[in-house]
Symmetry: C2
Subunit: 215 residues, 2 copies
DNA sequence: TCTTTATGTGAACATTGTACACATAAAGAT
DNA sequence: ATCTTTATGTGTACAATGTTCACATAAAGA
């Protein structure tokens, strides 16, 4: 017991191990509770037990750190969708399976927005300059981001003949906008007062109408 | 020239006249350019040419000021929708008119989001505590807020028999979610790269599908 | 004319992000 | 093994922000 065991906090806990990941984790935890505005550089470093400037060795500035948190939040959303997809029972008819697939994506999206509003808002938060975050590259476990997961679901609908190819693009926008919009309205807008049960019903109805709109 | 003319800035421009409105105006201008995060109390007072603390005579704190700006931004959205409604040509068939009405509301909403992203984001910005801003009470020129304007449009659809009454609520959520979601995706999401012309087409298609989803 | 009230000013403080110089641990070179 | 270099965390310092308290001054009422 003398070579390179990590000290506690005697004189200097130098070489934190993986400070970058620790900072990201703390940032995520803050975003989870308070949304993007809660990700303060000083608070993050405080939680990790390190001096504020230590963060600058791993992130260019607060903006950069927040960007990393955003990516992680987006990954969490992708994982939630994938987990919903994994719950799908086996369905024989490929067209029905494709439909169920799309619903699962939508449901995973909506559930995540309600279960983790802080992360959801962080994932889609607009950077201060009003210009940032184009397409999120960060991906979930399967390597696909939420947009790609939706895209795959629509591919299946086209392949099985449920969705005419000409309408594919419009359908993508409709499905996406509707689900994203409802998510925001659950979190922020006047639908916040609804009980979880009511939200469940509203979500189902929305997905029904999206499906109807595709045909 | 001696009674009560407003001084310039000699020794004290006391009695600003209507400082509260001036602060709100400056806050709105900042929100217009930089979104909700740009509404800094000190910057607002600086623009008005007054000391930071003067704001506290009219607003409890920064949060309160931002809330006022939010309301004003929501009013601006309502006005944009109303202006779109005003452009509607006279249509004989009441059912067609009702449909055109809904489209106008959607178009006004989408246009505003693209023309004034800063105000749009401010109107729907989530307060820091993640809990605030339930239903926006603030209204446009006609005294109706955006939600009520949509509601009126749906009323017309129900009255003319286009929309079955049982589906009214679901339709409201779909229409609203779709339009709101597309707005967000234009501003923030991956649809930001689209040209104005492309956005116009996408908007039209979305409204088509919403209409289809209602039936 | 005196008093009260409303409204703006001034100085001060805690907190935030960030830049600079410095310290120390690990890795490489000789 | 010793020296040098690099990576990583510390300390001090500064500007900017929101906010509080005491004070100043203009307007309104008695």
């Amino acid at each position: 017991m003398s070579t390179t065991q990590p000290h506690k906090k005697t004189s200097g806990a130098y070489r934190h191990g993986d400070l970058k990941k620790a900072l990201l984790g703390a940032g995520l935890a803050l975003a989870r509770q308070g949304g993007p505005n809660a990700v303060l550089l000083r608070e993050v470093t405080r939680q990790v037990g390190v001096v504020p400037n230590a963060a600058y060795r791993h992130y260019a500035n607060q903006h950069d750190l927040l960007q990393a948190v955003r990516s992680a939040a987006m990954s969490a959303l992708a994982n939630a969708i994938e987990s919903e997809l994994a719950k799908l029972p086996s369905i024989n008819d490929p067209a029905d399976f494709a439909r169920a697939n799309l619903r699962a994506v939508g449901m995973g999206y909506l559930k995540f927005a309600q279960d983790e509003p802080g992360l959801f808002l962080t994932a889609f938060s607009v950077p201060d300059d009003l210009q940032g975050t184009a397409v999120p590259e960060k991906a979930g476990n399967s390597g696909l981001n939420p947009y790609q997961l939706l895209s795959v679901a629509l591919d299946r609908l086209v392949d099985t003949g449920v969705l005419p190819n000409e309408r594919r693009m419009g359908a993508e926008y409709l499905a996406w906008s509707a689900v994203h919009g409802l998510s925001m309205l659950f979190i922020d807008g006047p639908l916040r007062q609804l009980s979880p049960a009511q939200r469940q019903i509203v979500s189902q109805r929305l997905l029904d109408m999206v499906e109807k709109g595709l045909v």
